[in-house]
């Protein structure tokens, strides 16, 4: 294998780029197959997501969800844990936030919002710590358990919203609207209060929270003792045990933090946009986190960049579906799946050809006899 070694810079740039390019190439073929022009689609997608201030703010709003769920998956991944449960954890986090907002509707915003955010984090963390504990102490595979917990969350929340928390006057399975104090400050309202005229958008300060969370995750992983333990556990679980790391503790705490990050999705959706708890508000964003984490190579900066790309896909995809009705929003899910396939499962596919290409250019310099 010595001749196929890949320099680090190529591993961090060329390989992910080749993987994403392959995903988009196949997506282009899909667009072609349903009888549309992939280049027109691409142009509409970029214009729809970045071309206007409104499009851009929607892109950042979607990206907020993906940063949170992407960080959630990435952090657990660093510890060698595959958390497929971000969707269910975010769902439960929404319950935590809603309980605060509905129980004490009279609180002022400065108390209500931090309390609701903390409740979201705690509920998300608890829903993730249970599978973590089961993995650490009972040996249940975390992938299976988190999948099961997603479905249990779906049933639990459906029951709560239909039978317990529904507004008495409403037929919809959703809670009454929260008090105005429970609304995360929105950027459009902030800009208007300074006298700017801006289009309405759901973008709110959760976006800043997401960026802070990304910085926090970076610090945690590379600048703390716990982060060192997380990385050791991820690299070699038995070595971590041998080195005296309490693996149960690290697994449970890591899953707790992972679930807490997933809770950010509820903060953005429930507190930032909907202002009430409703059925299936997670809308699959938890699963996008897996694609984002894989594409961002489980690095916080990579997660933020991948989230921006997926934010563009979601916003641009909505515009695209409006302009070209044959390309429905399901196209985004296809692209997402292809990214997971090429950047995840087939991750090594282009490594050998890229190494070969690099060696081709290198050989004369490294081999003086030639």
């Amino acid at each position: 294998m010595s001749g196929r070694r890949l320099p680090a810079w190529a591993d961090l740039t060329l390989v992910p780029l080749a993987n994403v390019a392959a995903a988009f190439f196949v997506s282009g073929l899909v667009v072609l197959a349903i009888g549309e022009n992939p280049f027109t689609a691409m142009r509409l997608l970029v214009a729809g997501s970045l071309g206007t201030l409104e499009g851009l703010s929607f892109t950042l709003y979607y990206a907020t969800n993906f940063i949170f769920t992407g960080l959630s998956v990435a952090l657990a991944y660093r510890a060698g844990l595959f958390n497929i449960g971000a969707e269910g954890q975010a769902y439960l986090a929404g319950l935590g936030a809603a309980l605060v907002c509905l129980s004490w509707p009279g609180l002022p915003a400065v108390v209500m919002l931090p309390l609701a955010v903390i409740a979201a984090g705690v509920f998300g963390a608890l829903w993730a710590m249970a599978p973590g504990w089961l993995q650490a102490r009972r040996g249940s595979h975390i992938v299976i358990t988190t999948i099961m917990f997603n479905w249990i969350a779906t049933s639990l929340m459906a029951w709560l919203l239909v039978n317990v928390m529904r507004a008495p006057t409403s037929m919809q399975p959703e809670t009454p609207s929260f008090a105005a104090a429970a609304q995360m400050p929105k950027f459009d309202a902030l800009a208007r209060s300074f006298g700017f005229t801006v289009p309405s958008s759901p973008l709110n300060i959760s976006f800043l929270l997401a960026l802070i969370a990304a910085a926090f995750v970076w610090l945690l992983i590379w600048r703390t003792r716990l982060g060192y333990e997380i990385r050791t556990l991820g690299a070699n679980a038995s070595a971590a045990e041998y080195a005296g790391i309490n693996t149960t503790r690290v697994i449970v705490i890591t899953m707790g933090l992972s679930g807490m990050l997933a809770g950010g999705l509820a903060v953005n959706e429930v507190l930032g946009v909907q202002n009430r708890l409703l059925l299936e508000f997670t809308a699959g964003y938890g699963f996008v986190g897996i694609a984002v984490a894989l594409m961002g190579r489980a690095h916080p900066l990579g997660v933020v960049l991948a989230s921006l790309l997926f934010g563009m896909l979601y916003q641009g995809g909505a515009e695209l579906a409006f302009d070209q009705p044959r390309i429905t929003r399901d196209m985004i899910v296809v692209i997402q799946g292809l990214v997971v396939l090429f950047a995840g499962a087939l991750e090594g596919m282009f490594r050998t050809p890229i190494a070969g290409a690099i060696n081709l250019f290198r050989r004369p310099a490294e081999n003086p006899k030639a």
């Binding site: 009972r138 399901d330 499962a345 991750e347």
Partner: protein, 301 residues
């Protein structure tokens, strides 16, 4: 509940269990050969769409079955390529297949038929009709598949090799058998069985395809597989049990039980998942997966 009602619930339990059993046996073939597959859901969905589309186009349910089997087999082999030849992460690959199937079926369905992703309604020869006790051929074939799986797995040389690939692939390779070939056979069988289950959903149980019509059945099948401890005959009974739970949940909707009150339907629906978590954690009994499942086999040089 009188006798007639019990018969109705029993019949609907078997019909609801059929796609679960297909997917559960599919997972069994794959995981027993050492390849973890959380993409059962996606393969069934792809088969449901391909089956209904082909049945619509040709007017023949059998052509639908062929297309369903083919589509699911193709996705199974893709999973096999990623897991066996590329040593990729099997969970990630299964995830990818679920996403691609969910997106592609809805997208292509909307583009082809222009009915928001559904296929036109199937009737006459384009849909499987009941043969025996209100059950159609696919259900009967599925139940037979459980017995054949048992026979192959425990009474044939091939079955022994398949189990060895999932428990100790290095020993199998030492015996001169290609682990790669056995595992490909496992994922191919997995693809075919998911194809059967998916086609059943859209060409027999329902009269056509609806976007996301598998609605988590692939994951209940995964739960059933754990519950059955990766064994074919227990898989049959677990799927019948889960099918019965589903049938009872439908029947109990809005009915008040004396002494308990109305049982929430969601509680019955969550039961398979809760039971699986408890079993997997070893609080009651213990479910242990095939030892080498999920680990790519890299041949020593």
């Amino acid at each position: 509940m009188d006798f007639d009602a019990i018969l109705i619930v029993a019949g609907s339990a078997v019909r609801l269990a059929t796609p679960l059993l297909c997917a559960c046996l599919a997972g069994l073939w794959s995981e027993r050969s050492g390849i973890v597959d959380i993409g059962l859901e996606g393969k069934m969905l792809a088969a449901a769409f391909a089956g209904a589309s082909a049945a619509t186009a040709t007017g023949s349910a059998m052509m639908g079955l062929g297309a369903g089997l083919g589509a699911s087999l193709a996705m199974g082999l893709l999973h096999g390529y990623a897991s066996i030849d590329r040593n990729g992460n099997q969970i990630v690959s299964g995830m990818a297949i679920n996403m691609i199937a969910a997106g592609l079926t809805a997208l292509v369905g909307a583009a082809w038929f222009g009915q928001g992703g559904r296929t036109p309604s199937l009737n006459g020869d384009a849909r499987f009709s009941p043969l025996l006790f209100g059950l159609d051929g696919l259900t009967l074939v599925t139940i037979l598949c459980a017995f054949f799986t048992w026979l192959f797995l425990y009474k044939s040389r091939f079955g022994l090799r398949l189990r060895a690939a999932g428990e100790n692939p290095a020993a199998l390779e030492t015996a001169g058998v290609s682990v790669r070939r056995i595992r490909y056979a496992g994922v191919a069988m997995c693809g075919l069985l998911c194809g059967l289950g998916g086609t059943y959903l859209s060409v027999s149980q329902a009269a056509g395809f609806l976007p996301q019509m598998t609605a988590g059945k692939g994951f209940i099948a995964l739960a059933a597989l754990v519950f059955a401890k990766w064994k074919p005959i227990p898989a049959l009974f677990t799927c019948l049990l889960f099918g019965a739970l589903d049938a009872i949940a439908i029947r109990m909707q809005g009915i008040s039980v004396p002494g308990i009150g109305a049982v929430p339907v969601q509680a019955i629906q969550a039961l398979p998942y809760v039971m699986t978590v408890i079993l997997l954690a070893g609080f009651v009994g213990r479910a242990i997966p095939p030892r080498a499942s999920g680990i790519p086999y890299v041949k020593e040089n």
